[in-house]
Amino acid sequence: MKALAAELRAVLGPSGVIDEPTRLLPYESDGLAMLAVPPELVCLPRDTRETAAAMRILHRRGVPVVPRGAGTGLAGGATPVRGGVVLSTARMRDVLEVNADDRYARVQAGVVNVDLTSLCQREGLLYAPDPSSQMACTIGGNVANNSGGPHCFKYGATTRHVLGLVIVQHDGEILDLSEPVLDPEDLDLVGLFVGSEGTFGIATEITVRLTPAPPVVEVLLAVFCSLDEACDSVSDIIAARLEPAALEILDQLTIDAVERSVFAAGYPKEAEAVLLVELEGVEADVAAQAKGVLAILQRRSALDVRRARDPLERKKLWAGRKGAFGAMGRIAPDLYVADAVVPRTRLRALVARTVAICRERGLRLATVFHAGDGNLHPNICYDRRDPDEVRRVVEAGHLILAECVAAGGALTGEHGVGLEKLSEMELYFTPADLAAACLARDAWDPARRLNPGKLVPTHACLELRAVPRASPRALPPGGAGAHP
C-alpha cells in the first residue's frame, strides 16, 4: 500500500491521498455505521483528469475502488472493502456552469445539493431533488443512488433531472456524455448509470436540469388523532388527482422527537400524526388546490389544519420534517432507518402492518415518510449493545420489506440497495433478473472492481471469481448509527 500511496500522490498531490490510520477513521462507514470497515487508503482527486489518472493506477494494480460522496448514504453503498481504496469526491466542489437560458447547470460531483439550489435561486430556478440530507449530500452521491426527497413527488427522482455526465470508467478511460440531452437517440447510457451505486464508474461532472421556481408556495399542516386517517387523506388526495408538490407524514413518536430537538417546528405534541402538504404554482391554482385538499382533510377528520403564514414559518415546518432523523437520536441510541415503497392505495394497510410487526417484537417504531410516493421510512429504535434487541430489529426489518414487496411494492425508494438490502434482492428479483443486472455490470466493469459486493448479490452472477467484499452483515440491515 505504501508504494500505491506514493504513486497516487504523484498524480493527486500530497493532500490528495490519506493513509494515516487516524485520518482514515471518518471513511470507515457511511450512514450505515454498523458496517464499519477501515479503508486502506483514501484518494481525493480534484477533477476528472486526476480521477482518471488515479483510476488508471488502480486498474493496473487491480485494486478495488469504493466511490464516496459525502458519506450520508444509509445503505452501506460507501462502506469500504478490505484491500480497497475509497475514492472521495470531497475536493470536487466547483459549479462549472449555470446556464439560465437553457436551464441547466454543470457541476463537479462533490457539490453539495443545497449549494446548487441556493446558487440557482438568484436566476429564479431550482434543482428539484431535495433529499433530507441535502445540507450535506453531494450531487454525485445523488446520482449514484438516484436520490429522492419530499419534492420528488411532483418533480421525480434524480434520474429525471440528470441531462449529462462525465464518467471515469474502471480503467481510467473518460466517457464524456456531458452535453445536455433530454432524449438520447441511441442507448441511454446516462439513464442506466444513474442509480448504479458506484458499480459502473465514477461520475466526476454532472449536467442537471434546472426547474423554474414556483411563484407561490403554500404549506399546510394537518393534525390527526390517527395515523390511519392521515394515510387515507393522502390516498384520497392522489385519487382526486390534486397535484401537491409534497405530501409527508410524521407519527407521534417522531413528532415528540422533533419537538424536543433543535428542529422543533411547532408540531402539536398531542397529535397521533401530522401531514405536511405543500402546494405550489400560480396564486389562483394554489388557492383552488388548497380548497380541494382542505375538503379532503375535513372529510378525513383532521383535528386542525394550519397554514404557514410566511416563508419563515414554512421553513420551520420543513426544518422539522428534514431534521426528523437527526432528532431521533434523542429517543434511542440507535436507529434502523428502513426504506420501502408500497402502492399508494395500500398506504394505510402497510403502515399498520409495520406498526404491528414492531409491536409484536416489543420494538419502538417512529414513522416519517414520503406519503405521496408511497415511500415508507419506518425507523426502529434500538440499542446495539442488546443482542436480542438487535436480532428482533433485523427480523422486523426483513419482515417489513417482505410485506411491502408482497403488496406489489419495492425494496427501496431512495436509499439504494448497497450492502443493506443485498439479501432481500432475491425477494424482489428472480435469478434471471439478477443475471441480467450482471450483464450490464460486466459491460461497464468486467473485473467488478468498482464497489464490489454492493447492489447485486455476487452469487446471482454465477460468478466463480473471488470478489473482495465487506465483512458479512452481523448487525441490523440499516441504522443511521444515531448516537446522541
Binding site: 390516498s235 440497495v417 443486472a437
Partner: protein
Amino acid sequence: MSPAERTAARLAELLPRECLGRLPARAGWPELPLAAPRELEQWVEVVRYAARERLVLLPVGQGSKLAWRGAPARADLAIATTNWSGVTAFEPGDGTLTARAGTSLAELAETVRATHHLSPEVALPAGTSLGGTLAAGASGLDRLRHGPVRHQVLGLGALLADGSCVKSGGRVVKNVTGYDLHRLWIGSQGTLCLLLEATLRLQPAPASEAVLVVPCASRADALERARALGRTGAQPVAVLAHDRAPDRTWRLAVVLAGREEVVAFELEEARRVLGAHERHEGDGARALRAELRDLERAGGRWSALFLGGRPSGLAAELARLDELALRTGLAFTHLVHPLLASIALWIEGERQAELDAGLRAARFQVRWRERPAELAPAPPPDSPEHALARRLRDAFDPQGLFAPLGTPHVGP
C-alpha cells in the same frame, strides 16, 4: 427448400396457424417469415428456436416505426406483437397501468380516459404499439411537459436472447431497487431484448385545455415568440414552430392544458407575449391537438431525420441548415420544438443522398428516420461511448440474435 421456407416450416410446428404470417418485402428488406406469439411460452420457444438455429431475429412490434431502425444487413425471421396485447393491471388510485407490448396507444388512452388520466401522447396512436413506442424511444407531443417517454415508464418485462424473461423497475411510482435496465432497453430499437410488458405512470387529465395558433412573419419571429413564452411562468404541454402547412408559412402552435386556474393564467401570459393569435378551446382544441400530435407523420411520412441541440443554439443550427439548402438547392420543411431545441426535417423530392453528404460535410449530429436503403450506413464513430454501447449490446446479445440497426448515426 430455401432457408426462408425451412424457417417458415419449422415455425408452423412451433406455433398455431393464427400466429404465423409474413413480413412483406419493401425497399431494402426481403420478405420474411413472421411469428406473432400469443402465449409467453410461444415467445420463449421462438427465441430459443432462433438462437439454436443461429437465425437473426427482427423485432417488428406492429411495424409502425420499422423505418426508424432501417434495413439490417441480415434478418431471417420477424417477430411481432400483434397477438400480444391488453391491459394487465390498471390502478387508477395509484395512477399506474401495466400493459402488454402490443397494446395500441389508442387503447391505452381509451382505458385511462374513464378515470381522467392520460397515457403518453405519441403520433398516430391507433397504429402504434406500446412496445414499439418504447423500443424506438419515440417521445410525443407531451414531452415538454412530461419529459421523454422513458420518464413515464416505471418498469419493463423483457425477453432476453437466451430465452429468459426478466424485469426491471416495478409497478410503484418511486423505486431504486437494482439497475434501471429499462432505461437502457427503451430506445434500443430491439437490439438488446424483446419488450413484453410495461408499467406506466399516468398523468392527470386536464380540466381545461386550449390550443393557440400564431401566424408568424418568419421563422425567427416564431422562435422569438416561443422564447418569450418560455420566459413567462407558463408551462405549456407543447410549443411547436413549423412550416408544414400547404402555404409553407411559419406558424407557432402552443398547447396549454391543466387545472382551470393554471390554463387561465397561461392564456393571459400568452396574450401578453404572443401577439395576435387564434385561440381554440373545447372540441376544437382537442382536434387541433391531435393534428399537432400527428404532425410528425404528416402526409404519411416520418420526418427524414431528427436533430437535437440546445434552445439557445437553435437559431444558429437552423441557419446552418439554410446554408446547406442554399448550397445544394435542397428544399426542407421543418417541425421545430423551440423550447426543446429539436428539429424534425422533411426533404422534398428524392435527394436524400445529397442531404446525407451535405450533413456529413457540415458535421451535423443527426439521425435518419426514413433513410433510403441504398445509402450505406456510416460506421459508428470510434469513441468510448460507442465502445461501451457495443459492450452492452454484446453482453445482452452475445450471439447476435437480434437484427442490428441499419441506420446508425450520421455525424463526424
